[in-house]
Symmetry: C2
Subunit: 300 residues, 2 copies
């Protein structure tokens, strides 16, 4: 498989592949969610289970056109919808969970519920973004701009594992994963993360995360520009062509996510990993295309 | 004075204003430093004192053309150059200090020296960047991508004071300063910074930082896009048109700095504040233009 380099290629790949993943959409009352689902139905890579108010859904004529590929599960309110959708995933009746018009915290509560939830004990719940930045020649994956504020070493290891896994699913045989930091020096006193980075690199070399190349600490310029790497006299197997970035904390990751969207014309897609099935959890401000791409990322 | 909206306007402003600031350049052995100094001499907003090897400097023919506005102080090595240049500033014989081809740590040691340095006791040394981002209609100032890793409340207060001061020097009567954070919620448990933000806003309202508007926590999209602010149903006097950003930590600030340079085509200028005179402290990878703009920022 040739590597998928942008979201158009991802959508094409799913169109050609043909098979449909079953998406449980929680409380799909808003236009943007309905439009994204409708586009995904049209391309043909999902079937959808709308968990909420059937009447409200069918008032959107675009959805009616795809009624063969939509089923409905009635729910009185968004909390009930969350519980029912999570149950569909847990029982193996849905392959993807998608948030509609409800508060993220309410859906997370259902996902994390010890008895009825879908996060296996011991799994790390983390957030992966795929970004298409006009000034970069390929997709750039990163964690974690939304869920884990200050990852522990174990959480970082899980994030690397997921990043490598997702990048490989995009056809990148040996993804290059950069451990980002404001400085490229390992500095125990001022920057305690950087010490842990050495261990993560060693674990990657031992094959713990499957085929991938992990290196750092380095800044985003060194990770994503061969010229910048040379200018700084740094030698790294990342070679200025990172496929994935592991951010030091949520502040840096979230800043990157917002900055590339606001100032660089980037498109993004995001999913939660760690659950028994991928969860699409768009934020309020996300566009229809971003929701569609997130569905595609989850469906791959 | 009309607000200066980009670096071309800044250079024009300095050209028209006419007066020359005296810059002590420490160990100016590299081409990029010499070229930047030469451009600033040409525009006419500096005189320069080259602290290093006269012969090496004059081998650059561009500098020879401006020899009326250059003096030389001989130094045997970069450490001696640092000490001599810092002394020039301390004795009132230079208005700006600029780093040439030496290690940042070595220059900082001279600046911070308790007996001979130029950081008054009790002052906070911090880093300010001015950025010109093609997708933003005006200059955007921010702290701190280089010096203070995790600012305390007092350090943040000093950073706000400097940001407000610098932005006002650019003709912005009441700069809008956003306290950035990945979330716009004040959350004592998960995000302890955000609690301090409330106090900083109160102190700004009390006039502690001079004319300015301070608000947060908010993310960079909310701070710099009115549309994003509305979409999130946030009301803030920043109004999506921030003049300055205070970053939560060095990871986020450095990420922003590197990202806008790499992916958004941004130009940047940077100085250290807190010392008795501004310090221009370029990093290895900075372009001639970035060094020139930094000199201009310091000279304003």
């Amino acid at each position: 498989m040739e590597a998928i380099k942008n979201f158009d290629e991802l959508i094409d790949h799913l169109r050609i592949r043909g098979n449909r993943k079953r998406v449980a959409v929680v409380w799909p009352e808003d236009q943007a969610t309905q439009m994204a689902v409708s586009r995904a139905l049209e391309v043909g890579f999902i079937d959808s289970v709308m968990v909420g108010c059937k009447e409200q859904c069918l008032s959107n004529k675009v959805l009616m056109r795809h009624s063969d590929n939509i089923t409905f599960v009635e729910a009185a309110d968004s909390d009930e919808a969350a519980a029912k959708a999570v149950k569909l995933v847990r029982d193996g009746n849905a392959d993807i969970l998608m948030k509609g018009m409800l508060n993220t915290d309410n859906l997370l509560r259902a996902i994390l519920n010890k008895e009825y939830g879908i996060l296996p004990k011991g799994n790390v719940l983390t957030h992966i973004t795929a970004s298409e930045i006009p000034a970069y020649p390929k997709l750039l994956f990163f964690s974690d701009s939304a869920v884990i504020p200050y990852p522990t070493l174990d959480q970082r290891a899980a994030q690397i594992k997921y990043l490598a896994y997702v990048a490989r699913a995009f056809g990148i045989a040996q993804p290059k994963i950069a451990l980002l930091h404001c400085s490229e020096k390992v500095d125990e006193r001022h920057f305690p993360f950087t010490v842990g980075f050495k261990e993560l690199i060693a674990r990657a070399c031992n094959g713990e995360f499957g085929p991938c190349i992990v290196d750092g600490p380095m800044d985003v310029k060194t990770a994503c520009s061969y010229k910048s790497m040379l200018k700084k006299h740094i030698e790294s197997p990342i070679n200025g062509e990172a496929d994935a970035l592991l951010f030091p904390d949520i502040e840096a990751a979230n800043m990157f996510y917002k900055t590339i969207g606001l100032f660089c014309g980037a498109s993004t897609a995001a999913v939660l990993q760690g659950t028994v099935a991928p969860v699409v959890l768009p934020s309020r401000g996300d566009s229809i295309m971003s929701k569609l791409y997130s569905l595609a990322l989850a469906a791959l």
